[in-house]
Every structure is written in structure tokens, then in C-alpha cells.
Amino acid sequence: MDVVARALVAFCFIFLLTRLIGRRELSSLQPFDLILLIVMGDLVQQGVTQNDLSITGLILTIGLFGVLTLGASYVGFRFPRFRPILEPEPLILIEDGNVIERNLKKERMTQKELASEARLQQIDSLEKVKWAVLESGGQISFIPKSS
């Protein structure tokens, strides 16, 4: 019972943390972020299973994580009202070449970072962008004016 309760608390805490930490931080993994994620995974394991080395413990924890992930996904699908709670709505960052500063600020992003993302998609100027949308997963979609 204890391991299930621990796994449940860990899942809820990680879910809240990743949901509230912001999508940009999670989508742009620098080497430091990657190492941090691995370390966090190790810390979570210690807190959840502690000295439990059994197959039963493994099935209970991974099974619970799977069921909760599936449950969250189903709730988002079945009840659209809850979707914004489970995953952030896409956010428009550029409209017709104009950067929406208010929305950039919301995501703690600078115009330089936005321009850098645009260059990755072969767009050399933000003025050439019709729409830029920060998607739920943290990636930025660019729709050029010419298309």
C-alpha cells in the first residue's frame, strides 16, 4: 500500500511541477537540463520505491504511473473543459509579423529567442511570419506570410 501512495504523490507532484514550470523550459533541453532530468528521475525512484527491489513493487509503481497517465489523457479527451488544466492551450506569439510582447512575457521568452526558433525553420525575419504559435508541448509553429 505504501509504495502505491508514494507513487501517487510523486505522480501528482511531478504532474503539477511540469504543468506549472512552463512549456519552454521543458521543450528546450540544454545539456544541463538533460542531466537535471536524469538526476530528478533518480531522486523520484528513491522516494517512491526506496529499498523495495521486488518485481511486485516495479509492477505497482510503473502500472500506477501508466494508469494515471492514461486517465489524465482520457479525462482531457472525454471532458474538454478539463483540457486546459491538463495541458496548456496553444498561445499565439506573432500575428501578421507583429510580435505579441504580452504573450512572450507570459512564457518568459525574448524576441531574440523567438527569432532563433524562426531561423531553425529557415525564416530570417519575424516580420515574414504570419502566425507563430507556442504549442502545448513547447514547440513553436511558424506559418510564413507567403504560404
Binding site: 511541477l17 526506496q50 500575428e95 504570419k130 504559435v133
Partner: protein, 173 residues
């Protein structure tokens, strides 16, 4: 003005203020910071604390943490300062020392161990007047051990109670 991409709206995806999310984010991270600060201030252990009881026959010091977490190792140091001769110094430990806790070692090893009304009794033998007996005990908290527990320690001269230290330990999950 161009229409936004399919399934997006200017109201929902451009002008949304997200005040609730901002509030939830601030409250959540505020709580996380509060927990971290509390941890740094030893609320969740395991800095040791000295508990003391004095009697005409002997003083008893217990130096051990009062807050712990599941899985932690810790030390309990018991010092008997004999004011007069103690024929048979016996430390009686409450359940909080032993229940759901590994006792890894006791140094010096007691010459006898027994149970007194369900509590662990450790016999350290003769302590001459004016001398000090220090016993170190190393423990580890079982991961499933949670809650507040009594860790009172009583010092007996055989069956005569000399003094008693009242303490409580809180074990966090």
C-alpha cells in the same frame, strides 16, 4: 486581419490572460519554497538535539534528532553522568527507538538486554561515582515508519528509577 490557424481563436489563444494559472503557479511554487526553507531550518530533520534530565544520583543526556525521514541513518548518544555509584545502570528505551527502526550497532555493547513492560532495557553494568558512561547507538528508520513517537529514556539502577528524559520524535514520509 487574417484568420488564425484552424482550431485557434484570437480570444482563446491570443488574448487569454491566464490569471488563474498564474495564481496557481505562484501558490504552488510558494508552497514548494516554503517546504524547502522549512527543510533548511531543520523542520524535517535530522539535526540532533540534546535532551537532559537531572537527579541526585545521576544526570542523563540524550543527544539524537527529534525529526527524521524514512530511510535515514542516525545516531543516538546516551550519557550517564553518575553523581553516586550506580550498581547496575539500565537504560530503558521507549518504542519510538525500536519500532520500525533498525538498530545497527550499540557501542559499548550492553552486558545484558531484556524487555521491561514491552520496552527495550539495556544493562550497562557498574558506573562508579563521578564517572561518565557514554553509549552510542546507530539506527536506521524503516521507509514505512511515519508519525510521532515517544522516545522517552529512563535510567534505572537495577529496578530503581533514577531519572527520565521525555522526548518525542517525528518521522516524515
Amino acid at each position: 486581419m487574417a484568420d488564425p490557424p484552424q482550431f485557434l481563436t484570437l480570444k482563446g489563444n491570443r488574448d487569454r490572460t491566464e490569471l488563474t494559472e498564474l495564481l496557481v503557479r505562484r501558490v504552488f511554487f510558494g508552497l514548494v519554497i516554503l517546504v524547502i526553507v522549512a527543510g533548511a531550518l531543520n523542520v524535517f530533520g535530522q539535526r540532533p538535539k540534546d535532551s537532559f534530565a537531572s537527579a541526585s544520583a545521576a544526570d542523563l543526556h540524550v543527544f539524537a534528532p527529534t525529526a527524521l525521514r524514512g530511510g535515514l541513518y542516525y545516531e543516538g548518544r546516551f550519557t550517564i553522568d553518575a553523581q553516586r555509584e550506580i550498581e547496575k545502570a539500565v537504560l530503558v528505551l521507549d518504542g519510538g527507538w525500536t519500532e520500525q527502526t533498525q538498530i545497527n550497532t550499540i557501542e559499548p555493547a550492553p552486558i545484558g538486554e531484556s524487555s521491561r513492560d514491552g520496552r527495550l532495557a539495556l544493562d550497562f553494568g557498574h558506573v562508579p561515582a563521578g564517572q561518565k558512561l557514554v553509549a552510542w547507538m546507530q539506527f536506521q528508520v524503516n521507509p514505512t515508519n511515519v508519525g510521532r513517537k515517544s522516545q522517552d529514556v529512563e535510567l534505572y539502577d537495577d529496578t530503581t528509577l533514577l531519572t527520565r528524559v521525555d522526548r518525542t520524535v517525528t518521522i516524515y514520509p
